[in-house]
Amino acid sequence: MIQIFFYLTFALYGCATAAYLVYLLRTTSQVGMWANRLVTVGFATHMLSTIHRFSSSGYLPITNLHESLSFFALTIVGSFILFERKYKVTILGAFIIPVALLMVISSSVFPSAIRELNPALKSNWIWIHTIMAFISYAMFTIASGAAVIYLIQQHFLKKKRLGALFQKLPSLNTLDDISYRCLTIGFPLLTIAIITGAIWAEKAWGTYWSWDPKETWSLITWFIFAALLHSRLTTGWRGKRASLLTIAGFLVMLFTFIGVSLWLPGLHAYK
């Protein structure tokens, strides 16, 4: 029973992914509309599933990989829905929702049993630290989705191959707007997450910074996006190389999130 919303979400994201891919390759706007509806309903069941888990365990469900991946997917889908509404970029779903689906699939691979909470995590700091981190991750995911489409469009323009796909994908300008908006939201949130994390570490472990692998990699992610934002603000830097750096930042972030937890032992590893 506890899992029913989770499986429902799983199915809805699966259908939405299929619908977005059909929408990407075929020329019907109806499919796009349905994909948006599916993903909205999927988000609602995902939310219910998360709330359900929260109420039965009593803690924010981000304490193991099963919970974290699911929570990550939730923030990605939520952010996508907001951006889709604002920029009317249904097609972005074909690049973002499969990522969310993948997260939900990998999430189901990891053990989902509710366990006794690690005493270090019993703190109100967990709320602000992790929610900020997750939202910033979602923003960087959306930004790199837009960056991938930017590279595709730019490739079409330079090669003068202006077919149906080119017509369907958004304009360079819109993609740049989305990336920049994500960056300006995501970067401050990541900064807050790192600072609150340090404060919390001082309270829990007695030291602000212990060069734990997660901390180190977070800092690398932070530097990449800081460089990107800095060039944008000072010289207006954008385009192909900026898109590539956005994608690189996203990959480092993904490693920070999953790789570090899986392969590098440390304080942040999900045990």
């Binding site: 020329t27 202006l162 360079l172 385009g239």
Partner: protein, 433 residues
């Protein structure tokens, strides 16, 4: 009843001829009144655009009606019919319906799929409705044409792509720069295509135009025309970074913008994308400019390729559109055919009954010592004869009406029994509508 079309278009007449027979939109009352005043013409609509002048009418007499409309067109515009006739085309019945459906769906336009024609026909129909020159048949006919055009528009992609170089440039600019309302166009040199493209950009909402030319007076003149700003040719590079779209067509023998210039300009623009269109031969803009990040260079050949691809797409879509039109013609023609069955039957009965009553009256009034029930019996006898006589023709006519080929029977009956009074019924039907 038949629908006829008499007209001329860009396919049959030059602009000089079309101008002469065009009707002024503010003064449609007079020609419409004259049109329906013509002998044998029951309803009429006049469509007059810069590419076509056409008259749609209903009549019982196809040949006579067509001839009178031709004469009307010539006389109204004071042109000898002999010189006008060679440019006119005429259609009737099914072909007339097909023609109007095709025109409304923009299949007969100079640029197939262009959207204006439907609005122009709607306006023309509006005048006809206002001055009551259209009636039940043309009302229904044109509303059908509008719905066919809408179907063609939504079910095919006939109007979804740019088919002129200038339009292709605008569409492409939107894909690079997004909304054009805060974008500036720079015109380097002059030339018809360049100016046309600049106009398209302004119509699509571009904020402003800068114009430069080797002769500054020429630049000033053009800038004034567009409500833009003239720039001295020597100062091109001090202003170029303000332009989002660059249209170049000078007669220069060598390139005037190289990759180094483009790099510099893009940097000054804070790396905002820039769209270069090179219309000149030999080229004004070095092809290597396209390698510069955030600079996108297209030549007129590239744009032409887009147009060709779109045109090919359109002709595929036009086939689909013709199919839709064929379906709709069948439906409308059936309606048009059955429209006349009932009034014809009524008229036929009325005619027979008139004769019967007349003869009965004559017989009875001249008959002395009439037996008491004789009048009743005679009445019954004549009624029975009339009903028997009319039974078969009525049944055949109703059946023909369902089959869709009723006009032969209706015309035959009309002539055999001189049912001219039917025109009154048409008027009544018009009022009902």
């Amino acid at each position: 009843m038949n629908i006829i079309v008499v007209g001329l278009s860009h396919k049959t007449a030059t602009v000089e001829i079309r101008e002469k027979v065009a009707f002024s939109p503010n003064q449609m009352q007079k020609p419409l009144a004259e049109l329906v005043g013509l002998d044998g013409i029951i309803e009429g609509v006049i469509v007059s655009t810069c590419n076509r002048v056409e008259i749609y009418a209903t009549t019982r007499d196809i040949a006579g009606g067509t001839a009178r409309i031709k004469r009307f067109l010539a006389d109204y515009h004071r042109i000898p019919l002999e010189s006008l006739d060679q440019h006119l085309y005429t259609h009737h019945s099914e072909n007339a319906i097909r023609h109007v459906f095709r025109v409304a769906s923009s299949l007969d336009s100079m640029v197939v799929g262009e959207p204006q024609i439907l609005g122009q026909i709607k306006t023309s129909y509006g005048y006809a409705a206002e001055y009551k020159s259209s009636g039940i048949i043309l009302n229904r006919f044109l509303h059908k044409a509008f719905s066919v055009a809408k179907r063609v528009r939504t079910e095919t992609k006939i109007a979804s792509s740019a088919v002129s170089v200038a339009f292709a440039a605008v569409e492409l600019a939107k894909k690079i720069l997004g909304d054009l309302s805060d974008k500036t166009v720079m015109l380097i040199g002059a030339g018809e295509m360049c100016e046309l493209a600049a106009k398209h950009f302004l119509n699509s909402g571009a904020r402003g135009v800068m114009v430069t030319n080797r002769t500054f007076e020429r630049a000033e003149k053009l800038a004034e025309e567009f409500g833009g700003e003239a720039v001295r040719f020597e100062e091109l590079f001090t202003h170029l970074h303000r332009a989002d779209i660059v249209l170049s067509s000078t007669g220069a023998p060598h390139c005037i913008i190289g990759p180094k210039d483009a790099e510099e300009v893009v940097r000054r623009r804070r790396f905002k994308p820039m769209f270069f269109i090179d219309i000149a031969v030999p080229r004004d803009i070095d092809p290597k400019v396209d390698d510069v990040e955030n600079a996108y260079l297209f030549t007129v050949d590239h744009l032409q390729e887009i147009v060709q691809a779109n045109l090919a797409q359109r002709s595929l879509e036009a086939e689909k559109a013709e199919e839709i039109i064929n379906q709709e013609i069948g439906q409308f023609y059936k309606w048009l055919s059955t429209l006349e069955v009932t009034p014809t039957i009524v008229a036929l009965r009325t005619r027979f009954d008139e004769i019967r009553r007349g003869e009965l009256e004559k017989t009875v009034s001249g008959w002395k010592d009439l037996p008491p029930d004789a009048e009743k019996r005679l009445e019954a006898l004549t009624m029975a004869m009339m009903n028997k006589l009319l039974h078969a023709p009525t049944a055949v006519l109703k059946k023909a009406g369902q089959g869709g080929r009723v006009d032969l029977y209706v015309d035959a009956l009309r002539q055999l029994f001189e049912l001219e009074s039917l025109q009154n019924d048409d008027r009544e039907l018009e009022l009902e509508e």
